[in-house]
Every structure is written in C-alpha cells, then in structure tokens.
Symmetry: D3
Subunit: 72 residues, 6 copies
Amino acid sequence: MPFIKIEITRESVTKEQKQILIKGVTNLITETLNKDPHLTHVVIQEVDLDNWGYAGEQGSVIRERALQKKEK
Amino acid sequence: MPFIKIEITRESVTKEQKQILIKGVTNLITETLNKDPHLTHVVIQEVDLDNWGYAGEQGSVIRERALQKKEK
Amino acid sequence: MPFIKIEITRESVTKEQKQILIKGVTNLITETLNKDPHLTHVVIQEVDLDNWGYAGEQGSVIRERALQKKEK
Amino acid sequence: MPFIKIEITRESVTKEQKQILIKGVTNLITETLNKDPHLTHVVIQEVDLDNWGYAGEQGSVIRERALQKKEK
Amino acid sequence: MPFIKIEITRESVTKEQKQILIKGVTNLITETLNKDPHLTHVVIQEVDLDNWGYAGEQGSVIRERALQKKEK
Amino acid sequence: MPFIKIEITRESVTKEQKQILIKGVTNLITETLNKDPHLTHVVIQEVDLDNWGYAGEQGSVIRERALQKKEK
C-alpha cells in the first residue's frame, strides 16, 4: 500500500511530464516491492519558487541570479 | 497534540463539507485518544486531478474515461 | 482518492484505538465526500515526546512538569 | 540532509518574510546539527483559512468571529 | 529541487530494494524534469501494519485474514 | 497556526539539540509572522540512513565511502 509524494518547484511542468512521473514511479515501486498498482497512489505537489528555499535562499532569487549571469 | 492532514482531489468540495470533515475528525481523535481539541489541528490539502496518480494513471485521465463510458 | 495522515505523540495508543481512528476517519471522509473506501488510505504516525514541540517546548518536558505539579 | 516543511495559513505573507523564515531555519539547523546548507531545503506551504481547522473549527470562521468581536 | 517521500508498509524491505527505489526515482525525476541529482532527495518511510488503514481496516487485520484464507 | 516538520537523518541527535531546534524554529516563526506560540507545533522526524537517498544513493553508502576516504 504505497503512497508517494513528489514535491517540485512550480515551473511549467506539463501534463505529459506528470503522466511520465506517475507511470514511472508506480511501475518502479510495484515491481521492486511486488505491490498491487491499485493500492499505489502518487501525488505531485508543485511549490512556488518564492516558497522553496535552498542553502538559505529563495528559489526565485537563485533563479534570477542565474539568469543575470547568463546575460553577461 | 495531534495534527491531521487530509489529502483529496480538488473537485468542488464546499466550505460546509470541509467544516464537517474538520469537526468530525477533531471529535473522533480527541474522544478516542482523550486529547485537548485546542491542541488538535486539521489541514485539508486539495490536489489537482492532473497531479494525483492512481494505478499509474492521472486522475484527470481516469475521470475522463469514466465520463466517456457513461455517454455511450 | 483520499489519503489521511494522523500525527500523534507516541503514548501507548492501543491497536484497538488505532482501529477506531482508521474506521472512523474512513467512514467520515467517504460519506461526506462520496468517496470509495477502496481508494481511501489512513496512516497513523507516532512521534516521540522528545520530537514534538509545542509553544517552543518538548512534549517530554511539558509532560514531566505536569506530573511534578500533580505530585505536589 | 535536512528537509523542513513549514505549513502556515495563507494570509499575505510577503516575499521578505518568507526569505527571513528560509534563511533563519536554514541557519538554525545547519549550525545546531553541523549540516551543510547545500543539503538543506525548506518548503513553505500556505493553506487557505477554509482548509485549516483548529479545535474543530475552520480558520476562516474563527477569524470572522474575532473581527466581529473587535467591531463591537 | 525535488523532494520525494515514499510511504510503504514495514514488511522486511531490504537495503538493496531501498537502493533500487532511490536510484530509480532519482533517475526518473532528474531525466523527466531535467533536474540536478544533487538537488534531489528521496525519503522512504516505513509504516507499521497496525498504523496503515485501507478501506477502513488495519493492514495487520487484512494481512491476517489473507493468511487464514490461504491456509484453508 | 503554523505546523513545522523537520526531517533529518537519524544520527545521535541529542535531546538538547532537539530542544534548541524546537525553541529556535518556534521563536523565528512566531516573531516573523506575529503568531501565537500556543498555536505553533514542531515535529522532528529522524530517518534511518538507509532510507534517505541523495543524488541517487543511500545515505549509509555515502557515509561509508566518506569514512573510507578519511582512513586512506
């Protein structure tokens, strides 16, 4: 009876990419652990870049700095 | 000191239904475990149908197929 | 497709109490939202008193102070 | 390798407040546990007042009653 | 910056199976979403059968009934 | 009404370190967001090194390799 939560930053992930994640994670877990896919749920939670901190900084700040570097 | 998270698909759950869930879960847990309701929090998290996978498929795809079957 | 996580402090909750919680939460949610119980999972997570903080203090410290008060 | 999830009610938390939380939590945890900030992620999850229950009531109902009291 | 939580029932999952899950989920997500594996964390949480409810029943009760059926 | 979950690897974190985390996170959040500490809960969840994956590898494997490097 697996439940999988995937937390990612909200950055235009497409419906097709989500389907690939859901299918792939479900297959991996049901095959590795010999589980019934009908007992397997996957939830994708998208998090705004302002709300995801890495190494003490907001994702939005990190992303902006990376863009400015590229432009130079 | 209970904390309860209810994850459901986002499908027009009304404010009244949410209140019934919050009241009911709080009562059940405080009575069963003899807890103080003022230490009991309930969070409802609604998940888009594209983001909830069941048996390897997106909720939105499952829902659509069910609708098409009905129409036939 | 509901998934419910109940987080409580680890304090000798019995198997029977857990069954009451699981049955009660499942009934409440499937009836209120018209959901299939076979799509409804409930997970109870027990947390050590040292690991649960309330109002800035560890549960174990709060519990001990309450006991000392009683003894006086 | 810490991961911290902060769940709060959605009430106009500013980008600056979020940055203070992310910076502060990351510093606290990396210093207290001697962890690498590049292995430390913080996610802030904002929850609608209708979806947060406290003592069996919706946050939105509690907030409204507090406002009405003030007005009297 | 993905974080993935896999919740499964505690049933003698081996270290090797866990490694397969961690490797597989990390590959799937970093390839599908073009993410850096060094920003990708996976946590496996094992839940006692008494603490996992399905369709209103404890996992331990469901498992026991299945065993009894087999024996007949 | 904040709820904070701190997930870390299980590596002999002391009761005192946990108290510092609980106190520090509670102060930071109640001061930054002007919240009541009596509505603020913090849960620390310790995860076995076999169950935490980083960059596709188990924490226990990463730790062992680091030890072997040191010994050389």
